[in-house]
């Protein structure tokens, strides 16, 4: 609920839209009320006057009420149309703003503070959850606000004629609009929670069954799984049936209350008219007015239903938005240092206050121009080391400096501008080859693009395409082979022309032939730069390369491959395993 209130504050810039939307909606409901009440009174009065003979007929002002009826009818039609358009415009503008708001919050978190989230889950927060929040105003706030205002206005109008009837109407509206929906929500709370869980179970079972179909079939377990899906379906249906029954109860009760209120207004009118305390023509006014008034509360049961899901969506969105960025940025960076040596000493870092140390006293120096291979099993701290250099994560203890300047004092963007990173995870975006290259340098001309493609040995491939640089790469680079996609990432890195090159298993998942060819081309890119490559394998390492073996977040071995291979403790064992497990 608190999340929903926070959401309200974000509506600020659209105050004018919202106010006009609410007024229009209010006008629509009041027009309907006025239309029916006035029509009822007008017909009754005309009937009475009709009995009164010519004199009465001539004295009766026919045109004012008739014009009133036409006026209300027009307001109703136009108000409904304009009101809905204004409402939706406001809600959709707010949605667009919310999306940008959430993405702005996501950006400083990536990648370290988002590592636990799957991209599908983030996407559904950015699209589905935010869409649902758009409904907070449309389907909950606006109907509530309008219903309250309209209820008071309509009950007040009836009260002018008969105070008791106004009171009865207010009570009826409160019952039908608040008490009944709240009660059905309370009754259905467990069932609707269970519907959600059961539906998730059904979905999980279905995904299991479909993705694991090959195994399930050969284990002759498919019928059992199909039966399990059938069971989940039956459970789901049973719970939906309970919800349907509760919804039916709510609808029936709401209708009964509306009719009973009209009946009460009628009885009050009859009583007073019978005692000549009330003109007879006011009886249809009271009756029809009471009936028409319930249009105001009609959307409220659904609003109550939606509230729970919306609160959950708001919670999910704010859970990300409130996450503290892992790195605090200084206002500005010092001047670029004279040299670009990396020096770490006793660096400790972890991803959460209680988590184990990912780097635990890492001490390491990399001189400008050096080529270093960082080796280690998964969890040894290789990725954390890179995250540290790229300012994706903050270090708690020790010192880390670049060219003698403490990393903390440099803005993340400025640190990263010194690095080119090529990894298996380097993302290519749906767009053309040119678009993807220009991410590295938006102002690059075609000549530089071609030079970069040349370095990555991709220029021939691009030239052979009919649309050249404008050829689309497809969603998820689907139109490129694995090797071509890596080469494009390579070309992007070449275009960037940064002093540091980080190679994070850039050939992982490629077949050995493509891998060997790509490794060859990496050499061209590495020339003249400081290269840090991280790997858990010993392939493609020259005897004179410097190797740093990480273990438990610390340097375990450091030296040239040739030396470590004979004198080391870990490297010889890895080399043996590597030989055994060579890929073909």
């Amino acid at each position: 609920m608190r999340a929903l209130i926070r959401l309200l504050r974000l509506y600020g810039p659209y105050r004018a839209w919202i106010a006009s939307g609410l007024l229009l909606a209010l006008a629509t409901i009041l027009a309907n009320f006025g239309l029916l009440a006035l029509a009822g009174w007008f017909l009754a009065t005309a009937g009475l006057v009709g009995l009164g003979g010519y004199a009465a007929q001539n004295a009766f002002n026919f045109f004012t009420p008739a014009a009133g009826v036409r006026f209300f009818a027009t307001v109703r039609v136009l108000g409904r149309y304009a009101g809905r358009i204004v409402d939706h415009e406001a809600a959709l503008r707010q949605l667009a703003r919310l999306r940008v708001f959430l993405f702005e919050k996501l950006e400083p978190l990536a990648p370290a503070a988002l590592a636990a989230e799957r991209s599908g889950d983030l996407l559904s927060r950015l699209v589905a959850d935010i869409d649902r929040l758009g409904d907070v105003y449309l389907r909950v706030l606006a109907p509530f606000a309008v219903a309250v205002a309209a209820a008071l206005a309509m009950a007040g109008t009836l009260a002018i004629f008969v105070p008791l009837a106004g009171l009865a109407l207010l009570a009826g509206l409160a019952l039908a609009g608040l008490a009944v929906p709240a009660a059905s929500l309370a009754l259905g709370a467990r069932a609707s929670r269970e519907v959600v869980t059961t539906r998730n179970e059904l979905r999980a079972d279905a995904v299991d069954a479909i993705q694991g179909l090959a195994e399930l079939l050969t284990y002759n377990a498919a019928p059992a799984v199909a039966a399990r899906i059938g069971d989940a379906n039956d459970r789901l249906i049973a719970r939906e049936a309970r919800l349907a029954a509760i919804a039916g109860l709510g609808a029936g009760a709401g209708q009964l209350i509306a009719n009973a209120t009209m009946g009460a207004a009628l009885l009050i009118g009859l009583e007073l008219a019978g005692a000549h305390h009330l003109p007879g023509a006011d009886v249809p006014l009271l009756t029809l007015g009471a009936l028409a008034a319930f249009e105001a509360v009609a959307p409220l049961p659904q609003a109550f239903q939606l509230l729970g899901g919306m609160a959950e969506s708001a919670r999910r969105v704010f859970a990300i938005a409130d996450r503290a960025p892992p790195v605090r940025e200084p206002k500005r960076s010092p001047a670029r240092p004279q040299h670009l040596d990396i020096a770490l000493s006793g660096v400790r870092l972890r991803y959460a206050p209680e988590a184990p140390w990912a780097l635990d006293g890492l001490t390491l120096t990399i001189r400008e121009g050096e080529h270093v291979t960082i080796l280690g099993r998964s969890g040894a701290g290789k990725t954390s080391f890179i995250n540290l250099l790229l300012r994706f994560v903050e270090y708690e203890e020790g010192s880390a400096s670049l060219g003698g300047v403490e990393l903390r004092a440099i803005r993340g963007d400025d640190v990263r501008s010194l690095f080119s990173v090529v990894s298996q995870r380097t993302q290519l975006f749906a767009g053309s080859i040119r678009d993807n290259l220009r991410i590295a340098r938006p102002d690059a001309d075609d000549a530089s693009l071609w030079r970069a493609l040349e370095t990555a040995a991709l220029s021939e491939f691009v030239r052979a395409r009919s649309r050249g640089l404008d050829s689309p790469v497809g969603e998820g680079a689907a139109r490129l082979s694995g090797g071509e996609a890596r080469r494009l990432a390579l070309a992007r890195a070449a275009l960037r022309d940064a002093p540091f090159l980080v190679l994070d298993e850039p050939t992982e998942g490629l077949d050995p032939l493509t891998e060997a060819a790509l490794r060859g081309d990496l050499g061209r890119l590495a020339a003249g730069r400081t290269v840090i490559s991280i790997t858990h394998r010993l392939a493609f390492i020259a005897p004179n390369d410097r190797i740093v073996v990480l273990d438990s977040g610390r340097v375990a071995e450091d030296g040239t491959f040739a030396v470590l291979r004979t004198d080391g403790r870990i490297v010889p064992r890895l080399a043996r395993l590597q030989e055994d497990l060579a890929r073909i």
């Binding site: 009822g40 809905r84 195994e215 899906i229 049936a241 029954a245 009760a253 099993r377 993302q427 749906a430």
Partner: protein, 576 residues
């Protein structure tokens, strides 16, 4: 067309639908009755005909209660009608997916199929429970109201009779336009989602290049485009309801003004006038309800299209009835041609033997047809030509399920299923006791991992449970195969890079598992190949070389080239 088929699948729910329609119609008739009563009571009050008979008032309140009861019952009836259809569709879909097998599900995308089975079927509910009954009521209730009004006041009856049918006509006209705009909006939504996913997945890359700020501006623009398209479609949708509103309000105003004039001159009576006023909104109510459920039809049609695509997909492989040979079998492929999609053969006349009791490794570059060969032997894809003989018996005549009982299949990316570790293992042998489970884990080199789990074998995996690492899942799949202890093993070695240590454990467990069985190993590691008794080198859907490791290395052909990580020599002199 689709509409008709959708109505046809509602057939099992026909009784339920009739009940829902009947209840709705009864509700409509009670409304008319209520209006008659009310008009009579109010007429009496206005013209002071003396006190209203208590019986009338009592009848009115009885009607209120009856109508509320009908509302409750029709809600339940509608749900029941939809429920039976949903259950039946889910059953049929699951059955068809099982029949179509993994060759189909891989191509179609498992997430999409799972969504069809759950949300796709769910999307039919509003159509079945609301739209269909309302369709019937739209015709019935206004007719009943007209039938009541005409004898009482033909003039207002005429106003309604003329304005009523105009609305659906106009709505069809607007609806056509709305459908086109709806589809455009749908495409825009997909494009926006795709872009957002791209941006989320690439957020690290964007940061690395210092471009994340630009992306934020782009997202703002795309969101705004989406708003514009959405508003365009909404304006049309709102126009539809504005038309309804217009006619309903116009009819009320018209009735009031015309009746007012007639009453004034004593040409009509108030009872009729008031009755008409009460019934006019009710006349348009079913139409308005239909309009609110119109989008239910749209989404149901979209969902139904996907459902029917799955249900209509042709089943390629049909099971035979012969009982497969027992024990370690020899498998012989003769001039085999097959592929995952019709018209795209991957295996092109493959001849090959997998001798009984020996481990045969299949190697080759990606796309050479290794996985297709495994899928054909397991029976997931049907050969378009040639045969697979199991100890001389064609695979096509064998009972599929009996054949599967003879083999253990370990795919490249095995899965854990929601449930405990023990349940995951018992897939292979439901009656296995705990000792056998532990023994299987021991042999798959997984026992240490299991013992370190919070509840050992009873630890829950997957949704709401813990996750295993890639290497652990692979060994769990091997443990399943150990437990099944089938005479034939078909294994697709994982290509994902694991730790060297983990990789060594997996390789060792695979070697242990293959021992003493007819084993077909799609191999990516030298360790696995070297331990195999025979090696098949595949190229372009055919066997390029066949022999032992030593023989093939000695002869220096494609296999030797593969080992060197070089391109194969153009001549391959090592066939047999």
């Amino acid at each position: 067309m689709l509409d008709r088929r959708l109505t046809a699948i509602a057939r099992p729910a026909r009784a339920g639908l009739y009940v829902a329609i009947g209840l709705g119609l009864a509700g409509g008739l009670l409304v008319i009755l209520q209006a008659l009563l009310l008009a009579r009571i109010v007429n009496g009050a206005v013209f002071r005909h003396g006190p209203v008979p208590a019986g009338l008032l009592l009848a009115l309140f009885v009607l209120f209660v009856l109508r509320a009861a009908l509302t409750f019952l029709s809600e339940i009836a509608a749900h029941h009608a939809a429920a039976s259809v949903k259950t039946e569709l889910r059953r049929a879909l699951m059955k068809r997916i099982v029949e179509l097998g993994p060759a189909y599900t891989v191509g179609e995308g498992s997430a999409d199929l799972a969504t069809t089975l759950t949300d796709g079927v769910e999307a039919l509910e509003p159509y079945l429970a609301r739209y269909l009954p309302q369709m019937a009521l739209v015709a019935l209730v206004p007719l009943a109201i007209l039938a009541t009004l005409f004898p009482i006041d033909w003039m207002s009856g005429l106003v309604l009779a003329v304005s009523g049918p105009l609305i659906p006509l106009f709505m069809v006209f607007v609806g056509h336009q709305a459908e086109a705009i709806n589809q455009r909006q749908w495409r825009q939504l997909l494009a926006m989602s795709a872009h957002m996913l791209d941006a989320i997945q690439g957020i690290t890359t964007l940061k690395l290049f210092g471009r994340a700020r630009d992306e934020i501006a782009l997202i703002a623009r795309i969101s705004d485009d989406y708003r514009r398209t959405t508003m365009a479609s909404l304006r049309v949708a709102f126009l539809t309801s504005a038309v309804l509103e217009f006619f309903a309000s116009l009819a009320i105003a018209l009735v009031a003004v015309i009746f007012g004039a007639r009453l004034l001159h004593g040409h009509a009576n108030f009872f009729a006038a008031f009755l008409v006023l009460l019934l006019v909104p009710e006349f348009f109510l079913p139409l308005r309800n239909l309009a609110t459920h119109y989008h239910a039809r749209m989404s149901a049609l979209a969902a139904a299209q996907r459902i029917f695509e799955v249900l209509d997909a042709p089943v390629a492989q049909v099971s035979g009835i012969a009982i497969p040979p027992k024990g370690a079998v020899t498998i012989l492929c003769r001039a085999l041609e097959a592929g995952h999609e019709p018209g795209r053969t991957v295996l092109r006349g493959l001849d090959c033997e997998f001798p009984a009791g020996l481990a045969t490794a299949i190697v080759g570059r990606s796309g050479a047809g290794k996985s297709s060969l495994a899928a054909a032997i397991v029976g997931f894809i049907a050969p378009s030509a040639g045969t697979i003989l199991i100890d001389g018996v064609p695979l096509s005549v064998l009972d599929r399920e009996a054949w599967w009982r003879q083999l253990a299949y370990v795919p490249q990316a095995p899965r854990t299923f929601a449930g405990t570790v023990a349940e995951n293992l018992r897939l292979a042998r439901p009656e296995a006791d705990e000792a056998s489970l532990r023994e299987a884990c021991r042999r798959a080199l997984l026992l240490d991992v299991i013992d370190s789990l919070p509840q050992g074998l009873s630890t829950r995996l997957g949704e709401g449970g813990i996750g295993l690492s890639g290497g652990e899942i692979q060994r769990l799949a091997l443990a399943r195969a150990f437990l099944k202890d089938a005479p034939l093993l078909i294994l697709d070695e994982a290509t994902a890079h694991l730790d060297l240590e983990t990789e060594a454990l997996v390789a060792e467990a695979i070697a242990d598992l293959a021992r003493g069985r007819t084993a077909i190993l799609i191999a990516h590691r030298l360790a696995t190949v070297r331990r195999a008794d025979r090696i098949v080198v595949m190229e372009d859907g055919r066997v390029a070389e066949y022999g032992t490791h030593e023989a093939l290395v000695a002869c220096g052909g494609a296999y030797a080239a593969l080992l060197r990580g070089a391109a194969a020599p153009t001549e391959t002199p090592c066939v047999r």
